[in-house]
């Protein structure tokens, strides 16, 4: 698992059936305050936002790794974040997000819901047009296009089951309609949106610019759901023109655009460049680049060279580049190193409670050890990861420390308190703050786990566990960065646990973690990032509970659900009991639908229970450094939705940003979010 790439992080857009929340969830306080980077949107200016007085760039060159090359241009069809990062610039849906992660108008200019948040009404703009690749208007966008889009997604013959989980879980009748088209086979290709409406799917268009969704259950965060690609519009004329096969496989030459940019040039594995869409409805509201180019780079080692040649306007500074820069005190780049915001993923160490050996027999040595509470607590309370964090963030390693399960920023209660601060309170960490010296969760006992270790070894030796316990950790073969990180992690294990206790074995897979590691259950743990789908803690902790078919991690990573189903062994009784307790707490929290504060407090309690039992061990946030001509804090930064790579309203500078400027941005941003 390469912690320096986002590609392995996972954002699952799935819903828990029973969730029902009342009250405003998951939305930040209003965008405003000291950072002026948000002003452009409201002022109607077309010039780029500017806080430093620097000359903004007219053209911008960014980059992407070659293994994240676009595979499909079809926003409705693709499930890959790497594709959405491209198409979000070309194709817009109901809502977008701002730099604080708050949902903002896009094609929908305003939206509202009924009293119990089960019926949502979106009023659309009347000035949105579809254009072709040359920017010529092809059609006018109306509410019908959203119906056509939804029908496409739900129709198994058309979208081949992609992106169905979001609407299926929330909208009335959606799952039934999907099942119907699935049963019909190829014949379903003839169905239209009228058939979908007739089948009773919870969506309707009273007029050309109004769209009404009906949810299965109260869903106060439905606006964040509707921002997802499953609900994107498409023109019926385009589908007619291209045919079903043709539209599914549409590319930039024949698709229709309603986003800020159109594609100027696309060369697979080399470049993409976008130029402004001349008929973009928001042309007067947002600033855009005259040209935005994304260069594909296969090898991180050349990015510094490219940045120095200005073949790139931003780059991620890896460990080796950082060492190089810092080794030369005269290097101008020393003053230009900028720390980014955390990526939107909360990385956890997901233990495997039912590990197999390579030959398929159960590895009971590990299984017994990991079922022991004291053994697991050693990970949370004793694993000192500073050196490992330094692989991601060499300057401030501890900025990467993650002590909780839910990603901070996913939701706020009515007092404006961020959810993870509630968990911190439950854990007794609320008085502690980042000091750059020690990990917060290790402060209590100075990270000394001698007692826990002794307890674990005594208890486990009694049931026949031999020490050291070997933990198998899989990385992708041939990636030296991943291997280096794993080597450092192994060293952290040695330093924290001692080689007589737990030893990390680094192993490799060739192509697919799912195929080669998780399905045969040969891993001891997987370190994985989870990105939010919507603004409620249930999206996070709900993945770990028992007795729920949608609890993803329980089924596919920890395999605890399988253990419970098959009946736990004697030595797993405590573990299962802890899981049951945690599950009960989550279910209690889920049942609170009339009081957001109480609901979040209950979730915080559940999460604390999970963390105290170390059912999964929080690992890190991806906070890295950059050399850049763009202000990260002006970019869209939503915890969910496909919009983060939309290149609008970016603040840029001809001169590279300096460390000081970035610190100011960060302070202004923090002040604005706390306001």
């Amino acid at each position: 698992m390469n912690i320096n790439h986002e590609s392995h992080a996972i954002s699952r857009r799935s819903f828990l059936k029973a969730s029902g929340v009342v009250g405003a969830a998951g939305i930040l306080a209003a965008c405003g305050g000291s950072s002026s980077s948000s002003t452009a949107a409201s002022s109607g200016a077309t010039s780029a936002p500017n806080t430093t007085g620097a000359a903004p760039l007219k053209e911008f060159i960014s980059w992407e790794a070659t293994n994240r090359e676009l595979e499909s241009w079809n926003m409705l069809y693709t499930q890959m974040a790497s594709d959405m990062n491209v198409t979000t610039n070309l194709w817009e849906g109901l809502l977008s997000f701002d730099c604080y992660g708050k949902a903002v108008p896009s094609v929908a200019k305003e939206w509202s819901h009924n009293d119990d948040s089960s019926v949502w009404t979106f009023n659309l703009r009347d000035d949105v047009d579809w254009v072709d690749v040359n920017g010529e208007v092809k059609a006018h966008l109306t509410s019908k296009d959203f119906l056509v889009g939804l029908e496409w997604v739900l129709n198994a013959a058309k979208n081949q089951a992609n992106n169905t989980s979001m609407p299926n879980e929330t909208l009335v009748g959606a799952a039934d309609y999907y099942q119907k088209t699935s049963d019909m086979g190829d014949a379903a290709a003839d169905l239209t949106y009228e058939d979908m409406l007739a089948a009773g799917v919870g969506v309707e268009a009273p007029d050309d610019y109004t769209l009404v969704f009906t949810c299965k259950a109260p869903c106060p965060y439905f606006d964040t759901v509707a921002a997802y690609t499953s609900f994107y519009p498409v023109s019926e004329d385009l589908i007619t023109e291209l045919g079903i096969e043709g539209f599914r496989a549409c590319d930039y030459t024949n698709m229709w655009y309603n986003g800020p940019y159109v594609v100027e040039e696309f060369i697979s594995q080399n470049t993409k460049s976008y130029i402004p869409n001349p008929n973009y409805y928001g042309a007067n509201d947002v600033s855009r680049f005259d040209r935005f180019t994304v260069t594909m780079i296969s090898d991180g080692t050349v990015t510094f060279q490219l940045y120095q040649n200005r073949e790139l306007d931003e780059m991620d500074v890896g460990e080796s580049t950082l060492t190089t820069i810092q080794a030369d005190p005269n290097s101008e780049y020393n003053a230009q190193l900028c720390e980014k915001r955390p990526k939107k993923y909360s990385y956890q160490m997901h233990f495997n409670y039912q590990k197999n050996n390579d030959d398929g027999t159960p590895d009971d040595n590990w299984n017994k050890a990991i079922a022991n509470t004291a053994f697991r607590q050693c990970f949370y309370k004793g694993l000192e990861l500073t050196n490992w964090y330094a692989r991601t963030n060499k300057i401030n390693p501890l900025k990467c420390e993650n002590d909780y399960y839910t990603m901070p920023g996913v939701c706020y209660n009515t007092k404006g308190q961020e959810y993870s601060t509630l968990v911190a309170k439950e854990m007794g960490f609320d008085k502690e703050s980042y000091d750059g010296k020690t990990m917060i969760r290790l402060r209590a006992n100075n990270g000394d786990i001698a007692d826990l270790k002794k307890q674990a070894m005594d208890e486990l030796s009694a049931i026949g566990v031999t020490f050291p316990v070997h933990a198998a950790y899989y990385i992708i073969a041939g990636n030296s960065t991943a291997l280096d990180s794993a080597t450092v992690l192994k060293q952290c294990f040695t330093d924290s646990f001692g080689d007589d206790f737990i030893v990390l074995d680094i192993k490799t897979y060739v192509s697919s973690l799912t195929q080669e590691v998780r399905n045969p259950q040969v891993q001891s743990f997987v370190i994985n990032g989870w990105g939010a789908d919507f603004g409620d803690p249930v999206n996070f902790v709900g993945q770990e509970i028992l007795h729920d078919d949608n609890a993803y991690y329980s089924w596919y990573y920890s395999n605890i659900a399988k253990i419970v189903e098959a009946g736990p062994a004697d030595w797993q009784k405590d573990l299962v009991a802890a899981y049951e307790e945690f599950t009960d707490l989550v279910n209690t929290a889920k049942a609170i639908v009339d009081d957001t504060d109480a609901r979040y407090a209950a979730f915080a309690k559940a999460e604390a229970c999970m963390l105290n039992n170390v059912l999964a061990c929080p690992c890190y946030f991806d906070v890295s450094w950059t050399l850049t001509h763009a202000n990260e804090y002006s970019k869209i930064n939503a915890m969910y939705g496909p919009c983060n790579y939309k290149a609008v309203n970016w603040e840029t500078s001809e001169e590279p940003y300096t460390t000081e400027q970035y610190e100011e941005f960060a302070a202004a941003f923090d002040a604005a979010t706390k306001a």
Partner: protein, 313 residues
């Protein structure tokens, strides 16, 4: 032969004398103590550069063991400590340290052993398999069509496909790598051998040999094989840099050796990103690779000349 010194101080009449007739001497047949391999070695030893290369290579191999023994750090006990990253070579770290602050000396020499072992195993393996099948391919006419198609099949399907499938379905380890490389490379050796066998198969001396009832394997091993030795040796020597190169490419693609067997190719592909700032990281392993490859190139040429019977006196 008489030397001038033999005649010094001898009188005129002592210079000439009669030789007595001896029937045994008269019957003696001129005997040359020619031995094929003896001549090969003799000819090879005449080529000073090649001998130097041989010694250099042997010394390198031996030294890779000594180096690990005398090194201050043990490969298996390396500790990563980023505060010691990128230390230039000094008396503590003879080759400096890598990006994780681990001693580079023991890594390089350990990898050297792995690479040499892999290259030799592959070279010997492909030669043995290639020669055996090449002889059969060339000699047994009815199998020609079969082998030709097999050759086309294996040669025209990019090796990446085989390597990916093997890595996915069998796994990655030293021996899997070695065997799969042999499995792909033997054909080109076999092809060369086959072409040579074609040339010699129907020469008169073989015809005569067959008429006298010499068994097939004897015709192959005694009549034909010696002509092929030079070709085989050259091909073998040149396959060694080829193996190292291919291995580094495969490592770059993640299809190489497992992570617990570091090869020079693996090290080289890893240090690519640092070498401009820390040239020593590239210089040491690249020099060793070059020494191995160049030695074999020169040795191969010399040995191949020496092995050619036409060059024997």
């Amino acid at each position: 032969m008489a030397k001038a010194s033999d005649f010094e101080g001898k009188k005129q009449d002592e210079l000439f004398y009669f030789v007595e007739y001896s029937p045994e001497e008269a019957e003696r047949i001129g005997y040359s103590n020619y031995s094929y391999w003896g001549s090969v070695i003799q000819n090879f030893l005449k080529q000073k550069v090649a001998v130097f290369c041989l010694i250099l290579f042997l010394a390198l191999t031996v030294f890779s063991f000594i180096a690990l023994a005398i090194g201050k750090y043990d490969y298996t006990g390396l500790i990563s400590d980023t505060s010691k990253a990128f230390i230039k070579p000094n008396s503590e770290y003879w080759f400096g340290t890598d990006n994780l602050g681990r001693d580079y000396w023991c890594q390089v020499w350990y990898a050297t052993q792995v690479s040499i072992r892999l290259a030799l195993v592959v070279a010997v393996g492909e030669s043995i398999v290639g020669v055996i099948f090449g002889l059969i391919w060339g000699y047994v006419r009815s199998l020609d069509r079969f082998f030709t198609e097999l050759y086309n099949l294996i040669d025209n399907v990019p090796y990446i496909i085989y390597m990916t499938l093997i890595a996915l379905m069998v796994g990655q380890s030293f021996w899997i790598m070695a065997i799969s490389m042999i499995a792909i490379n033997w054909l080109s050796m076999a092809r060369r051998v086959r072409n040579m066998v074609f040339m010699f198969r129907d020469r008169e001396y073989n015809l005569a040999s067959r008429c006298l009832g010499t068994p097939l394997w004897r015709v192959l091993t005694k009549n034909i094989l010696p002509y092929l030795v030079s070709v085989i040796i050259l091909r073998m020597a040149l396959s060694i840099p080829g193996t190292i190169n291919l291995e580094s490419t495969l490592s770059y693609l993640g299809l190489g050796l497992g992570i617990d067997t570091p090869s020079l190719g693996l090290i080289l592909s890893k240090v690519r990103g640092f070498f401009l700032d820390y040239p020593y990281l590239l210089v040491f392993p690249a020099s060793i690779v070059s020494i191995i490859s160049i030695s074999f190139y020169i040795m191969g040429n010399a040995l191949s000349d020496a092995a050619d019977p036409r060059n024997h006196v």
